[in-house]
């Protein structure tokens, strides 16, 4: 990740849990920089966010009607419809209400994280067939096969106890530490965060494998006793 990209995701962080996706905006950065970072993030994970229940957290920054309108317009361009705004400043909440969004005060305790080891996970005990898609903001564990033509998209890690032959996207909200593992890792396409790779032609090694990002590359290795 370049320094610029790092800065972008520091300004606007996207996390998800069972109750939807939360975008937290940096409380101190200038609004224009935030919008730039937001646009970058939307470009990166727009497909994942579109249609999702999104909560925007602006912290204690006072947000004017005009500032909020600019942000909403940007999100609308990416087909993302925020459901609620979390803000401690009354002015921000008023702006949200007049824009027709639910306004909430900042909760006392932060929500559980969507990525990282503590994130929520979805367990599935079935085979995904061509045309079936599972999307979850946390980790996904699936016992069964993911057939070609099926898609598995997770905000966190993906574990498949079976054959993974469809398209898989781990860290779909931008978490580059996410990994994918499967008993037979032969996906049509493998994506982690913003990186995409195709497996080399030919059969896999016939052993469980795992994929993760190392030095800006998706690396796949056999899962052996370590």
């Amino acid at each position: 990740m370049s320094l610029e990209q790092q800065r972008m995701s520091d300004l606007v962080s996207i996390k998800g849990g069972r109750d939807g996706i939360r975008m937290t905006l940096d409380a101190a950065a200038p609004w224009d920089d935030l919008l730039k970072a937001l646009e970058y993030q939307l470009d990166q994970s727009g497909a994942f966010l579109s249609g999702a229940k999104v909560t925007v957290d602006v912290g204690d920054r006072p947000v004017t009607d005009q500032q909020l309108a600019a942000m909403l317009a940007l999100m609308q361009q990416h087909a993302v419809q925020p459901e609620s705004l979390v803000a401690s400043a009354r002015e921000s909440r008023n702006a949200a209400r007049s824009a027709g969004i639910i306004a909430r005060p900042v909760p006392a305790r932060p929500l559980t994280q969507a990525t990282g080891p503590e994130a929520e996970a979805l367990f599935l005990g079935k085979t995904l067939r061509s045309g079936q898609v599972v999307q979850f903001a946390g980790h996904i564990t699936l016992i069964g096969d993911v057939n070609a033509g099926a898609e598995l998209i997770a905000g966190g890690n993906v574990v498949v106890w079976g054959r993974l032959r469809g398209v898989v996207h781990a860290g779909a909200l931008g978490d580059r530490t996410s990994m994918v593992c499967a008993l037979e890792l032969t996906p049509t396409q493998l994506r982690i965060a913003d990186l995409i790779t195709r497996p080399p032609a030919g059969k896999s090694g016939g052993v469980p494998e795992y994929a993760r990002i190392e030095n800006n590359l998706i690396v796949v290795d056999p899962w052996i006793k370590r």
């Binding site: 085979t127 995904l128 067939r129 061509s130 045309g131 079936q132 096969d145 057939n147 070609a148 033509g149």
Partner: protein
């Protein structure tokens, strides 16, 4: 009380109509009372394959819309008095019938037949949904090609989502020579992907082309390998325990197939 069995595939051209005609004929040859329904409204074929095209007066849409009684629309087969065809309408489209109509229609037929076979159109849209609406069980036809198997996989998912129980598979047009060379998916390869029960395997057979063009089911031809395979498949559908036939070439038997068939019997 009839069992309503829908024959579908997702992909077009894999042999749904030929399979329906042959299974229906074979079941009737064994003494069952059988009705076959052509659900491919607008692109009707089953009548042609069965050689009954010139006997059509009323069709499925006439029955659904009340212009004809079911008994009037059913066409008796040329050779087998226990086999009937309910033809599709050619001048209408798939929206002329709703899934509810199909459920009512098949329910109406249950009392008079042992088997009602529904020939589904290709695709996953309204025509397919109509075809499976009244089904008790679903049979998926596919060929050993990656694209056909991919579509079959999609259909398995849709059939399961429609709560029709796990469908069974007929693998059509197997070319033993190509499989032997490793250039075609084997029965094993296909079952590994789809993970459903195998009802029958049918070899690629030129006799099918002549029999469908002549409007006579291949199961009448005792020389035809595909005909024998359809006959066995029909007996399995009727609940008999028939081992899968080894698909042979002119030169000899493929032992590999024998091995597979012994284990993967449906």
């Amino acid at each position: 009380m009839a069992r309503v069995v829908t024959i579908t595939s997702g992909k077009g051209g894999v042999g749904k109509t030929t399979t329906t005609a042959n299974l229906g004929t074979a079941l009737a040859m064994q003494g069952a009372k059988v009705a076959v329904i052509d659900a491919d409204i607008g692109l009707r074929n089953l009548d042609v394959v069965m050689g009954l095209e010139n006997r059509i007066v009323y069709d499925i849409v006439d029955v659904v819309e009340g212009r004809a009684r079911l008994r009037q629309a059913l066409i008796k087969d040329k050779r087998l008095p226990e086999l009937c065809l309910l033809p599709a309408a050619q001048t209408r489209d798939k929206d002329s019938v709703t899934p509810d109509d199909m459920v009512a229609l098949t329910d109406q037929m249950r009392a008079d037949f042992d088997f009602v076979l529904v020939d589904s159109p290709a695709g996953i849209e309204g025509g397919f949904r109509n075809a499976i609406a009244g089904a008790d069980e679903v049979v998926i036809v596919t060929t050993p090609e990656v694209s056909a198997v991919r579509d079959a996989d999609r259909i398995v998912g849709l059939v399961e989502a429609a709560q029709k129980g796990p469908p069974r598979l007929i693998l059509n047009r197997i070319k033993p020579k190509l499989v032997g060379r490793g250039d075609m998916l084997s029965v094993e390869d296909v079952l590994e992907i789809l993970a459903i029960d195998l009802l029958g395997t049918v070899p690629d057979d030129e006799a099918i082309v002549t029999s469908t063009n002549r409007g006579e089911a291949a199961v009448f031809d005792t020389q035809s390998q595909a005909g024998r395979a359809f006959l066995n498949t029909a007996r399995r559908l009727a609940g008999e325990d028939i081992p899968l036939m080894a698909i042979t070439e002119q030169q000899g038997v493929f032992g590999r197939f024998l091995g597979i068939f012994g284990r993967k019997r449906a």
